[in-house]
Symmetry: C2
Subunit: 167 residues, 2 copies
Amino acid sequence: MAISKKGTSIQQVEPDEKEPTSVAGLVLENRLGYALRRAQLAVFKHFNEAMQEHEIRPAQFSSLVVIEGYPGITQTNLAKVLDIDPPRIVSLINNLEERGLALRVRCKRDKRSHGIFLSKKGEALTEQLKELAEQSDINATQALSEIERRQLLSLLVKIYAADTIEE
Amino acid sequence: MAISKKGTSIQQVEPDEKEPTSVAGLVLENRLGYALRRAQLAVFKHFNEAMQEHEIRPAQFSSLVVIEGYPGITQTNLAKVLDIDPPRIVSLINNLEERGLALRVRCKRDKRSHGIFLSKKGEALTEQLKELAEQSDINATQALSEIERRQLLSLLVKIYAADTIEE
DNA sequence: CGAATATAGTTATAGTTGTTAACTAGATGA
DNA sequence: TCATCTAGTTAACAACTATAACTATATTCG
């Protein structure tokens, strides 16, 4: 295996003088997947800080919002909407139920399935969390104007909506 | 704990008739963090499919590209640039080295640090992968025009660049 | 009817990833 | 020289995701 720099078998080499601190100028700078990942991590970091005192993780927040929007939704449908696997829903709902935020109600027509509802406490918390999330998004994207933020959102939705449909 | 619907203790409830299949209409639709996550997963799915035959994971690809751009970069700097923890770099580089794609060269001035270089094989593969990645990004974002894609990229970079600096 | 098949939810398991703490070798600076 | 710092490493661990298999109900159809 040859070192590419000279093609000779160098044993001791100086590391490059430049000390890059960003991916500026590299192909990575133009890679959508990479940019999405980095931006997502940055935004999630803010989100997690904002939610820390309520001990709410991103997937829990999403679940709360969906249950609020569709009270009585079954676990299977919740899994579909959030595009996560059914086994993950179980522990997610277990946790919300243990904390008194949500509850399963066995459906009398189909006794296999459970409708999921928010408790009063869950509803109140969800309202509060939605505001925190809104604020957290804005904090995480200070570099963007309100118009840019909306533009970004609409572009992102186009991507994942298209991708969800074609499956 | 009361069920919010009526405030009474319902034991058997019909699940909602509607069967939602997307987050359309919910607050989630307007949450930047959620949209970023979903879009990122969609794009990564394409990426992973494209890279499958080469057995290259996203972080490995990113590493190859950065090493190509900064031959002789130290592991510490690579970690900084990619914003990942030093321990992760170790197994990452181990893997690339075992596969003959990259190699560590001990720096003679500071014998603690290693410069990392691509082998000829690594360089050739990286060239190939960059094209695959480019194509994969385009496939994953068929719903976007070329202009929109560039817009999106610039918005994303603004977010994570700002976030990286302030630390 | 009742046997075969399908579905909702669950459990267990394991692979993968990211995080933290602590260690070694070498460098630096008083 | 001694104390402190840094680069890389190792190991332990927590979190997340995916898969397989199990239970209970439901449905289909001969």
